[in-house]
């Protein structure tokens, strides 16, 4: 009998499971400088693997393009960076109709700069294959906007599967810290490393790396007893940050039931955010909370009316243009081919005018 070969080897992807995991688009809108573009790339790396890493935005792409595509790809969150003379804004919104939180990025540090600060930067490995754990600090309290922020941050990342998750999948941590005095949110991104505790430096070197150079020593005891019994950082480790591994972990020698100290090494971009406003819709809609401006009911009504009027006006103009274009096309088709060229340019010019109007509204840059 010939060797049996497996016939049905394609692993069927569980559609429902995919849909439950929150995915995000991180994009920049308008003209942003080079460093902000770098920041966008860094934030994309942070949100890996549930984000579009190589997403390319063209100049003409508008918000609704992304929203339309997002439905098919089951993308749930949209993060938009934009730059105005007043400052840098970050909008985090839930597709398709969810609330939008607008933050001002007071200051930021790129991942490359953060790594440049370290004496021994870790190069990224397989950490980006799994999603990070998210930690929120100081987001308690009854204030509605704080609760909403906390919910939003928690739901941007996939939940921890308690039954099936492996310890080795927890490689990164994203921290949001709410500073209660300045009410700024600090965004930090760390890699989790485990270090052996409770042994002297010499023994640690033997355990973790390959056998060191023992040419100068007569006896192994000379090597072991030559130096510091505990490094400075070991002293910090003892106590709260020491854990017993419940499963095997990444790295040489990290096996179950061994004591290790957890150390977080900063890796990614840093951001200082402050909440500006919360809107009902996706980058549009009623403003439910504004940290700077408080509008009275009359003002809100007036603003709403103004907006409605301008929308109606725009709609009317668009309808008129389309009518003109259709009429012109019909006329040209009747007259012949050689006049098509002349006539062709006119409707195009009119179309361009119309598109410029749309640009204003598209990726909303009307900030205070």
């Amino acid at each position: 009998m010939a060797k049996r070969r497996k016939k049905r080897t394609h692993v069927k992807v569980d559609e429902a499971a995919i849909a439950k995991v929150p995915k995000s688009f991180v994009i920049k809108s308008g003209v942003v400088g080079r460093s902000l573009a770098h920041l966008v790339m860094d934030v994309r790396k942070t949100m890996e693997p549930n984000t579009a890493l190589n997403l390319r935005e063209r100049k003409g792409n508008k918000l609704k393009d992304f929203v339309h595509v997002a439905g098919q790809l089951s993308v749930t969150h949209l993060m938009v960076f934009s730059k105005t003379p007043a400052g840098i804004n970050l909008r985090i919104g839930r597709i398709p109709r969810g609330p939008t939180l607008t933050f001002r990025v007071n200051s930021y540090g790129l991942a490359a700069d953060v790594l440049a600060l370290q004496s021994r930067p870790k190069s990224p490995g397989s950490e980006f294959k799994t999603s990070p754990l998210v930690v929120l600090n100081n987001f308690g309290g009854d204030a509605k906007h704080i609760k909403l922020m906390a919910t939003m941050f928690q739901n941007m990342f996939p939940p921890i599967q308690v039954q099936t998750m492996k310890l080795a999948d927890a490689r990164r941590v994203v921290l949001f810290n709410l500073n209660s005095e300045t009410s700024e949110i600090e965004f930090r991104h760390y890699t989790v490393t485990v270090k052996v505790t409770g042994v002297s430096k010499s023994v640690k070197a033997i355990i973790q790396t390959d056998v060191p150079d023992l040419g100068r020593y007569d006896d192994i005891s000379d090597y072991i007893l030559r130096g510091a019994f505990a490094s400075e950082s070991d002293v910090e480790d003892a106590g709260e940050s020491t854990v017993t591994l419940s499963q095997n972990y990444v790295g040489k020698g990290n096996r179950t039931a061994e004591q290790r100290a957890i150390r977080l090494v900063e890796m990614g971009p840093r951001m200082q955010l402050s909440l500006i406003k919360i809107q009902n819709g996706l980058c549009e809609g009623e403003v439910l909370y504004h940290s700077l401006v408080q509008k009275s009911a009359a003002e809100i009504k007036e603003q709403e009316q103004r907006r409605k009027k301008s929308e109606a006006e725009r709609g009317r103009r668009r309808a008129e243009q389309e009518k003109n274009v259709a009429a012109k096309k019909a006329a040209n088709a009747g007259e012949g081919a050689d006049e098509d060229e002349e006539a062709g340019s006119d409707p195009q010019a009119e179309d361009d005018e119309d598109e410029e109007d749309d640009d204003e509204e598209g990726l909303d840059q009307m900030e205070e």
Binding site: V135, F139, G140, K144, T151, I160, V162, T164
Partner: protein
């Protein structure tokens, strides 16, 4: 002669009495001698109480003394002169008693007993004392481990009422305890932004800088336990029409409330919007907007209509096709029948290619 010799003298003769007594006595003595002296004589109760049964640490002799005593005892045991059998001890005591008349001789070694013949009035004081001490110690220990005291035995047959009462009391206490805990937890959560526990940060390496206090109020991301809760009862209708009705009803209610109590209506509306936002942030779809619901309802109706009309078209076309085919078939049959029945001399029959000749014409060259 043999019969006479064999028969022993009668047991009740008087002259052999002395001999018989001596004989009996010798028998008993030999047995008694086998018993070691320390088991034969009554034990001194005082000596025993001090050692084994009670863990009386105070009266324990220091180690060295104990060691010496044991050594001495061992030596004495192996000393051939010291081992006196029961009979010897008894005879000694008898002699001493006859000489002194008062105190019987006590052997010098511990463990052997005062004589059994003249009983001394035992020191009742010490035993009673010890028993009282024992009772006190037992009570102490019982109190420590909260064992039910002896008096409870009296009211063991408690009435049903009492049992039920005690049960109700315990339940009430438990509930109050849980409530108190809840209150405490709620109170802690109410401290918005206040430092409930402040810890100094780890940056102690730069003592010149002021150490920033870090308030710890850590919460983590979502946990998915993989266990779907038993599906909660879905509140409200799930179809679009029902949801639309519900949304409209809610709107109406709110409008009505606005006329009577404006503030309450506002607060309700605000909390409703915030709840909606929170739910949306978590990913649940809240179907609340009347306009959107109407739109989706309309869309659904339109698709239904379209598909209904498409179905009608399909049906109509299929029946039409069937009819057409049937008609065509009948026509063909009719034409064939007509052609067959038509008179022969109608016209020249068209010659088929390859059959130009007539029927039955023979080819030249064939016989």
């Amino acid at each position: 002669m043999a019969a006479e010799g064999q028969q022993p003298p009668l047991p009740c003769s008087l002259d052999a009495l002395q001999d018989r007594l001596a004989e009996h006595r010798k028998c008993f003595d030999s047995l008694v001698e086998l018993i070691p002296a320390k088991y034969y004589f009554a034990k001194d109760p005082d000596a025993d109480l001090s050692g084994k049964q009670l863990h009386n640490k105070k009266n324990k002799a220091p180690k060295q003394v104990v060691k010496d005593a044991t050594k001495k005892a061992k030596k004495h045991k192996l000393d051939p002169q010291s081992s006196q059998s029961v009979l010897d001890i008894q005879s000694d005591n008898l002699k001493a008693a006859q000489n002194n008349g008062s105190t019987p001789k006590k052997p010098a070694v511990n463990g052997t007993q005062p004589n059994g013949t003249t009983l001394e009035a035992l020191p009742t004081g010490s035993i009673v004392e010890l028993q009282a001490k024992l009772k006190n110690r037992i009570d102490e220990l019982r109190a420590k481990r909260k064992a039910p005291s002896q008096e409870v035995v009296a009211d063991q047959p408690r009435s049903r009422q009492d049992i039920l009462q005690s049960r109700a009391d315990r339940k009430r206490e438990r509930k109050e305890g849980i409530k108190a805990k809840k209150e405490k937890r709620r109170k802690l959560d109410d401290t918005t932004g206040m430092a409930t526990t402040s810890k100094s940060a780890k940056e102690s390496s730069t003592p010149t800088k002021t150490v920033p206090t870090v308030t710890e109020d850590v919460s983590f991301g979502k946990l998915d336990f993989g266990v779907t809760e038993p599906t909660k009862k879905r509140k409200g209708p799930t179809d679009i029409a029902g949801q639309l009705k519900q949304a409209e009803a809610k709107k109406q209610k709110l409008e009505k409330l606005k006329e009577t109590d404006k503030e309450k209506a506002e607060s309700i509306q605000e909390s409703a919007t915030w709840n909606k936002l929170l739910k949306q942030a978590e990913g649940e779809k809240v179907k609340d907007d009347v306009k959107l619901l109407k739109k989706s309802l309309r869309r659904k109706e339109q698709t239904k209509q379209k598909s209904a009309s498409a179905w009608a078209d399909r049906q109509a076309s299929s029946t039409k096709e069937k009819e057409d085919r049937l008609k065509k078939r009948e026509e063909n049959i009719k034409a064939r029948v007509e052609a067959r029945n038509a008179p022969k001399g109608k016209g020249q029959k068209k010659k088929r290619p390859g059959f130009e000749g007539g029927a039955g014409k023979k080819k030249p060259g064939k016989a």
